[in-house]
């Protein structure tokens, strides 16, 4: 899932300065799970924004709230069309994808982000998420026992470890585990230690240029 973190209220307030009819649009998927931009967080942000503006300038502003299932598909945005167009500005608490998609959809109404999109990650429990995938476009997890050397290795080495691995810890950040130590141990557990001998060729960065675009093979036209 995409992991995001809410922006501070001062930053959000500045982005909608001068606007008096604001709509906060939340997303019910990834950002709701990581407690950054779902329905509850939209409600919190709405209260905080009204309070912040009132404390700052004594002004009362209108802040409406909606939360849609996702902000990256038109079918989920269209039912909220009337509310979206009936405001001076939209604060989207979706990830960067949702903010941009909504901005494209609305066109002439400013859409600003309410969260910072951080990474693709998984839930460790207890309100903690960790990065797991860099969307590099050439997945090697089948060879590395399910541990991503691009993401977990600080140097993204495909043929690690480097010379700096130290008792299973990384020389770049001693609080982090050495990815290749983890990979070795996992392959050992899986009885697939031979995989460690495989040499990956230099990464083909052309496999994933930015901005990327993908058409499913079933939809490709000849």
């Amino acid at each position: 899932m995409i992991v995001a973190q809410r922006k501070g209220i001062e930053e959000v307030k500045k982005m909608v300065e001068g606007k008096s009819r604001i709509l906060i649009a939340g997303c019910g998927t990834c950002v709701a799970v990581c407690m950054a931009g779902g329905e509850r967080e939209v409600s919190i942000l709405a209260s905080m924004l009204r309070m912040a503006v009132k404390l700052d300038s004594g002004r009362d502003i209108e802040v409406a709230e909606i939360t849609m299932e996702r902000q990256c598909d038109r079918e989920f945005i269209e039912p909220f069309d009337k509310q979206l167009r009936d405001c001076d500005a939209v604060i989207s608490t979706a990830c960067g994808i949702g903010v941009q998609f909504l901005a494209d959809y609305l066109g002439d109404i400013p859409v600003v982000p309410g969260v910072n999109t951080k990474f693709l990650g998984s839930n460790e429990g207890g309100g903690t998420w960790s990065e797991r995938c860099r969307a590099c476009g050439e997945c090697v997890l089948g060879e590395t026992g399910g541990i991503c050397p691009i993401t977990i290795c600080a140097k993204s080495l495909l043929n690690g470890p480097c010379g700096g691995t130290n008792k299973g810890k990384c020389e770049v950040d001693k609080d982090k585990d050495c990815a290749w130590t983890l990979i070795y141990r996992r392959l050992e557990k899986l009885g697939a230690l031979d995989n460690i001998r495989k040499i990956f060729p230099p990464k083909n960065h052309h496999a994933q240029t930015h901005p990327s675009r993908m058409i499913h093979e079933a939809y490709k036209k000849d």
């Binding site: 509850r40 009204r50 404390l55």
Partner: protein, 155 residues
Amino acid sequence: MKKFEPTVVVFSCMFCAQPAPAGSRLRLISLHCLGKLDARHVLKALENGADAVLVAGGITSQCRFIEGLAAAQKKIEYARTLLSELGIEPERLELVAAGRSIAEAAAELTERVRALGPNPLGKKKKAAKKLTAVSRSAQSSTLRLRPEGSSRSRD
């Protein structure tokens, strides 16, 4: 000059908290479980004119719904950071637990808030109606218990 009498909203666990006497400035909202309480309820109470919020629970090890009080404690700490971020004194939000009397805690909080002064947001018109709305939201019958070890939480 009229003496400032703080309006205190009390979110109270109906099973575990010690009963509180009715007070003209205490707005009591009884919850099935404090785990239902969220930072947004605290913010709404203050936004709608409360001078302080008191959250009343029981003893963590005796929580009827196991994790309710523990969950509430985390959310209260979070609500305090949000209040600080807004420039509102986090001391306006208090948790009383472990069998302490709500009446005593409310009296202490009231004294403290008298020193802090009225809610910097001022009183809203129709504050009573809005506090009723907060009460309804916090008391809605949807109560979801999280499986142990799950960090996903939604009201």
